[in-house]
């Protein structure tokens, strides 16, 4: 069983690697400017907030929950920072207050999900509207800029060598998430809860606490992302980071994380982040508009779930035709299948 899971994951990730290689080759064909340190830094730099958020979203989706409110929370903390700064609060304290507020909002989400047991889909949907609304209350239709120079520098490339501060944060966070998810007890809890919440509870795992920690972290990282976005853009409006959740969820699901929770790896998400970034970069170099890019990301999102389903259907079909040959493995597969449909039932789709 374990061996098979591992082999399947290997296949999904190697598929991603093949796609990535194809995208890179296509990009090289399209533009001479593609290869070069500047473009590669730029590639990360322009979506740095999204890819940072994708890391924490991976943990949440593996935990069989979803957080739709992250983009609004990014907007809210960016707006809160700008509003406070505009009111004369020193930038350092404004940053701290924005981070604290983001964490608090994450805790708020987490409370309803973990302790009141409301579906995360609705809670974070309400959060999506509510936090964006709060951002609108703060900034109305103004845009606020003119932050101190050191703050703006945080958002620019060439902070350390060619890298920006955000990229360094991303690299550190990626390593931390990789270690936490795959090499610590907490990471295993995240998987077990995602696979079967009730079994996890009976096994003595603190389900509520784990979910609470994840959503609080999500709030903290969202507001960090919002601040990085504010630093990168230099000005803040109430609609910053709107619709970011599409890209973020696409990156996670394309990375082989099941929307029903319980499966997926950090390496896969890392690869899919590279795929999405390179694809967008290539399309930009080929002069495709942002809307075409968004449509392509939408198609990727659907394909990332449709393709594994098709594989499974084909495999089931072939198992069906050679039923007598391999009775055992088919039973195994069916038990896997029912397990998955069970999770479908218990978690809102």
């Amino acid at each position: 069983m374990r061996k098979r899971d591992w082999r399947w994951l290997l296949r999904w990730e190697s598929l991603l690697a093949v796609i990535l290689a194809m995208v890179i080759v296509a990009n090289i064909q399209i533009s001479d400017h593609y290869l070069g340190v500047d473009n590669f830094v730029n590639l990360f730099h322009l979506s740095i907030e999204k890819i940072i958020l994708a890391l924490i979203m991976t943990l949440i989706i593996i935990n069989a929950e979803i957080d739709l409110s992250i983009a609004s929370l990014m907007g809210l903390s960016a707006c809160l920072f700008a509003w406070l700064y505009n009111k004369g609060v020193p930038a350092q304290s404004a940053i701290l207050i924005a981070l604290a507020a983001g964490t608090l909002c994450g805790t708020f989400n987490g409370f309803w999900i973990a302790y009141a047991r409301l579906p995360s889909l609705v809670v974070t949907l309400a959060g999506l509207i509510m936090f964006r609304g709060a951002a609108r209350i703060l900034l109305e239709d103004r845009s606020i800029g003119l932050f101190p120079q050191w703050f703006n520098d945080l958002g620019q490339p060439n902070f350390v060598g060619p890298l920006s501060f955000g990229i360094i944060v991303f690299i550190i966070l990626f390593v931390v998430c990789l270690i936490v998810l795959h090499f610590t007890a907490f990471g295993r809890y995240v998987y077990i809860i995602g696979n079967n919440r009730h079994a996890a509870r009976y096994a003595g795992i603190k389900v509520r606490q784990t979910k609470m920690i994840l959503f609080t972290l999500s709030g903290l990282v969202s507001s960090l992302g919002g601040l990085l976005l504010a630093a990168r853009l230099g000005t803040v409006r109430a609609n910053v980071a709107e619709d970011f959740e599409l890209d973020i969820i696409t990156m996670v699901l394309l990375g082989g994380v099941s929307i029903f929770g319980g499966t997926g790896t950090m390496v896969g998400v890392g690869l899919s982040i590279l795929v999405v970034l390179n694809l967008r970069n290539g399309m930009s170099l080929a002069n495709y508009s942002g809307n075409i890019q968004t449509s392509v990301v939408g198609i990727l999102l659907i394909a990332s779930v449709l393709l594994p389903n098709l594989f499974r259907a084909v495999r089931r079909w072939s198992a069906f035709s050679f039923r007598s040959r391999d009775m055992m493995s088919k039973d195994e597969e069916e038990s896997q299948e029912t397990q998955q449909t069970d999770t479908v039932g218990s978690i809102a789709n």
């Binding site: 609705v122 999506l128 609304g133 209350i137 809307n291 198609i299 659907i302 449709l306």
Partner: protein, 344 residues
Amino acid sequence: MNRIRQIIRPEQIRELSLLLIILLIIIFFGSQIDSYYTSRTFQRISSAVMIIMVVAVGETLVVITRNIDLSVGSIVGVTAYVAGEQVSIHNDLPPLALVLLAVGIGTVLGLLNGILVTYGNIPSIVVTLGTMAIYRGVLVEYGRGENVLVRDLPDWLVDLPRVNLFSIGELDIRLLVGVAVVIVIIFQLVLSFLPYGRRLYAIGSNPDAARMAGLPARRIVLGAFVLSGALSGLGGFIYLARFGTISFNAAQGLHMQAIAAVVVGGINIFGGSGTMFGMLLGAILMGILEQSLIRMQINEFWKDAIFGLFILLAVATDALVMNRLRDIWARAAVQMREAAMSEE
């Protein structure tokens, strides 16, 4: 007490309390805004609610089957734009053909959603999050930044929102509002009395059981998505008639309002329960809040924050209060049955 329990179900208590909240809110705004109780206020609210109402009917059907449709806003945008463009070019297009065009486009887009959800086995949130972006992106590319303008539209379409169906005292019921209400009533009847409606509930409350009972679950859910698409298409037509000027980001975020109406109206997001009547109350509540906040001129930017809070409150009360009420009702029913048996 038992007699009350026999007459009223917990769901009806919820709807009654929603009605009470609406009344309280109207009284509150009436005390804050001058000349609030006029036919003009009614006109504004009813014409703001009619689009959400039509779209939320489809959303309700989808949510009852334990799915969600985030793409309705994009479908409304696409249909409004394409229908508006066609009628701008062919000014003599008959009204019925235009409506059919809008509904047809909506149906096709809904069908695509439904096929991906049912036959592709993809969770509806993934599918409709994707198609929301895809439809919008295609629309922007198709429109190339040009707007549909009021002056290109035929007169009948521009005048349509002001056509009166009938008047009650000073309140004018507009034709389009009437159409929206009729659609809500029709689908309430479908949900209550047609086999298809009952099957939607069956699938939503327990998909596995429904499948084992022999219901063609896929086809029924597909039907719900197709209906949602078709009603969004109709919503797109009404949107075109009401606003006239349609840009590529028309109706962006409408799915949020539709889902807000559905959730506040007491349709369980896990499927299997809820009525069109509840949705109607939810939509009206949202419409009153939206229009009245704009008129209060304190800060219309409060709208979204209050919407979000209402959604959360609605879900929280559903989870905390409604379940307890249902328990009480169920327990009382058991007691009564036992009492009846001991009498025998």
